[in-house]
């Protein structure tokens, strides 16, 4: 594989503001800064996870990248097949078509995202048809191949979605996403609606497909345990901003942002012998239409000092390959979740990715 050097996707200063309108004239009285200055890059073959709690802007970020919504500002540079980088954020709709083949989406809800009146062959074959595979035999051959890839019996091709379990439907959604051989798959909570025993199968399948096809994933999730199993790197979002970006192992073992620390500490560990003293955050997530001055996390942060109330911290590189948006990142020794010691996993193309700051 002669992968071009540099990232497949590079997001710089992405912003998405939603206007708040009021009154008879629907005048704009404010902005909800759903995504506010988000930057990251994804290498070929890499998984970057966007994590955070409801309303943090992770799904809005993903939707901007797919151009399901138009960003307010920023660039989204995506590498095309011939190695050029185009700005998805600036392209007119008509010119997005060829790019959309290379960027696909897997949804959370395997029940709502499949048309109940279409057979599996039609659902998985639809993107092929739309993109010019007119020959029905050729389409069926390709659908069979795709079903095989996601470990569904090819004989099930003529059945309808209702005949499948949640896990099988998620496989169908994955097969459909892979039909046009995308380079990037955006997966928004792809396993959170599934039962544990089925969730494990889908996590493994996504990992296997990535190894086999060299896919890049943008994985949007709230479940940090699943994120640990899926990602090379993790970006933690809070009130529209990335507060920390780091290789998975480092982020879990030694977080550099107090919010990451609290988030990790809140995850229940499935071992009653590890009932730990957890950090319970006070209060609630800030309102993105009226974020507090300074660092948006300061009202809930146990490390906050005067400076945090006044000055918005920048996302800075604190250690090589690790960025955090905290004035005190260097001086704090935050707790991670202890794990058995082992070698860190290699991150593809990480050396070329220093665009976090």
């Amino acid at each position: 594989m002669s992968a071009p050097a540099g990232p497949l996707l590079e997001v710089q200063g992405l912003k998405k503001y939603f206007p708040i309108r009021k009154g008879l004239l629907r005048r704009v009285v404010g902005q909800v800064k759903a995504v506010d200055d988000v930057s990251f890059a994804i290498a070929p073959g890499e998984t970057l996870s966007l994590v955070g709690e409801s309303g943090c802007g992770k799904t809005t970020t993903a939707r901007c990248i797919l151009r399901a919504i138009k960003p307010t500002a920023g660039t989204i540079r995506f590498r095309t097949e011939d190695g050029r980088a185009v700005d998805v954020a600036a392209l007119p709709r008509a010119e997005l078509r060829p790019l959309r083949r290379r960027m696909q989406m897997i949804f959370q809800d395997p029940f709502g995202s499949l048309n109940p009146r279409m057979t599996i062959a039609d659902i998985v074959g639809e993107p092929l048809l739309v993109n010019g595979t007119r020959d029905a035999r050729e389409r069926r051959r390709r659908v069979a191949e795709l079903l095989d890839m996601v470990q569904l019996p090819t004989a099930s091709m003529n059945r309808f979605p209702h005949a499948f379990s949640g896990g099988q439907r998620q496989r169908i959604g994955i097969a459909r996403a892979l039909a046009l051989e995308p380079a990037l798959v955006v997966a928004d909570e792809p396993v959170s609606a599934l039962d544990v025993s089925v969730q494990a199968q889908i996590v493994n399948l996504l990992l296997d497909l990535q190894d086999r096809l060299g896919l890049s994933y943008l994985f949007v999730a709230h479940d940090l345990s699943v994120v640990k199993h899926m990602s090379h790197r993790v970006a933690v979002m809070y009130v529209g901003r990335i507060v920390e970006l780091a290789p998975t192992e480092d982020l879990f073992a030694r977080p550099l942002h107090p919010y990451t620390e609290a988030l990790l500490s809140a995850v229940p560990v499935p071992d009653p012998r590890r009932r730990s003293k957890r950090i319970v955050l006070e209060g609630e997530v800030a309102d993105p239409s009226r974020p507090p001055p300074g660092c948006a996390f300061h009202p809930r942060c146990r490390w906050a000092v005067e400076r945090c109330r006044r000055e918005v911290p920048a996302l800075r590189e604190i250690l090589p390959g690790r960025a955090a948006r905290c004035h005190r990142a260097e001086e704090l020794a935050l707790q991670g979740v202890a794990a058995p010691s082992h070698e860190p996993t290699a991150v593809p193309g990480i050396a070329s990715l220093r665009s976090a700051s």
């Binding site: 409801s54 025993s197 199993h229 988030l263 995850v267 499935p270 009932r275 319970v280 794990a339």
Partner: protein, 341 residues
């Protein structure tokens, strides 16, 4: 140990749709003690929520309790105690209505749907408080404010006049808990109380439940699909699969000496923040069968690595006692127990 406050024995709740039978709960037994938390855990279709509905006697048609008993130790006004079998009470009768929301407080997954959008939270709480005790309106309102303060709602004097949709998910769940405690229940039945919440909010609510339990000696019946929450909260655990309690025991035994192949497989397949990055998960083959396609014999046998043909696909294993409180329903252990002298 003291007598259980609630004891469920061989509970069977079946649904009779137009064709066939769905054995939603098919032989579940467990005990709940004062000041302790019993966790019921399982994946979809395991019957954990129907078990809760059966205890509350709110199983909707075409469902019906077909067998077993649900023994509640009721406290009489004179301080004596009396055992009542909830299965034998009329579901809509006076006594059952006093128990539901009175002796047993309820917390559900989605507070948005369990709280009324048409009444302020104060009005709902005042109603609940006056329904289960003799209070004037003013007294009930003062008590409601006190309850809201106790569950950590900031500015309860102002929030009491808010509507549920004006509150965040975490606050709504706190209001739900305050409402559940309004009638001073001895049992709190919490069905997926933190499933709809973010992880830091979940930590707050679990903390709150633990504190309230310690302060009031509540018996908590916690129903969840999340093994992490169980490990965090439960003293005893019931693992359910397709309507059957396949294993039950102290939380440490369930997590560190799991005996049923399903419990073992389930624990192995949970993603963990302690895993190595990019680590593959152990999986359970196949998927949970459709309720109509319930397997014969042990319901787990088609997915079980240790299943023995001719045995597990024919007969339903009885419960085998492994320890004073650790019980498993699996032939692997039944034989081992029989072969011992």
């Amino acid at each position: 140990m003291a007598e259980p406050i609630l004891e469920v024995r061989g509970l069977k709740t079946w649904y009779h749709p137009d064709e066939g039978v769905v054995r939603a709960v098919d032989g579940a037994s467990f005990e709940l003690f004062e000041g302790r938390t019993l966790g019921i855990v399982g994946e979809s279709g395991c019957g954990k929520s129907v078990t809760a509905r059966s205890i509350l006697r709110i199983v909707e048609r075409p469902g019906r309790i077909e067998g077993g008993s649900i023994l509640l130790r009721r406290r009489e006004p004179d301080g004596s105690e009396r055992l009542v079998d909830l299965v034998r009470l009329p579901a809509r009768g006076r006594e059952m209505r006093r128990i539901r929301g009175g002796e047993i407080g309820l917390v559900f997954q989605e507070p948005m749907t369990s709280l009324s959008a048409y009444h302020t939270i104060g009005n709902q709480m005042v109603e609940a408080i006056r329904l289960h005790g003799r209070f004037s309106k003013a007294e009930a309102r003062a008590r409601a404010i006190e309850l809201l303060r106790m569950v950590g709602v900031p500015h309860p004097e102002a929030r009491i006049d808010a509507y549920s949709f004006e509150l965040s998910g975490g606050l709504r769940q706190r209001v739900m808990i305050a409402l559940a405690l309004a009638a001073e229940p001895r049992i709190l039945l919490a069905d997926e109380p933190t499933t709809a919440l973010d992880v830091t909010t979940q930590a707050q609510i679990l903390d709150l439940l633990r504190r309230l339990q310690a302060e009031r000696g509540l018996a908590v019946l916690l129903i969840t699909h999340d093994m992490g929450v169980i490990a965090e909260m439960a003293d005893e655990v019931v693992v359910m699969y397709l309507g059957r309690a396949v294993e039950r025991g102290p939380v440490d035994a369930i997590f560190h000496e799991p005996a049923h192949p399903y419990t073992r497989a389930l624990l192995r397949s949970i993603p963990s923040v302690l895993a190595r990055p990019r680590e593959r998960l152990a999986t359970i083959a196949g998927s949970i069968p459709h309720p109509y396609g319930r397997p014969k014999g042990c319901p787990f046998h088609p997915r079980c690595e240790s299943a023995r043909p001719g045995l597990c696909d024919r007969a339903v294993p009885a419960e085998t006692r492994l320890g004073p409180r650790h019980v498993v329903a699996c032939f692997l252990h039944a034989e081992a127990a029989e072969s011992e002298p």
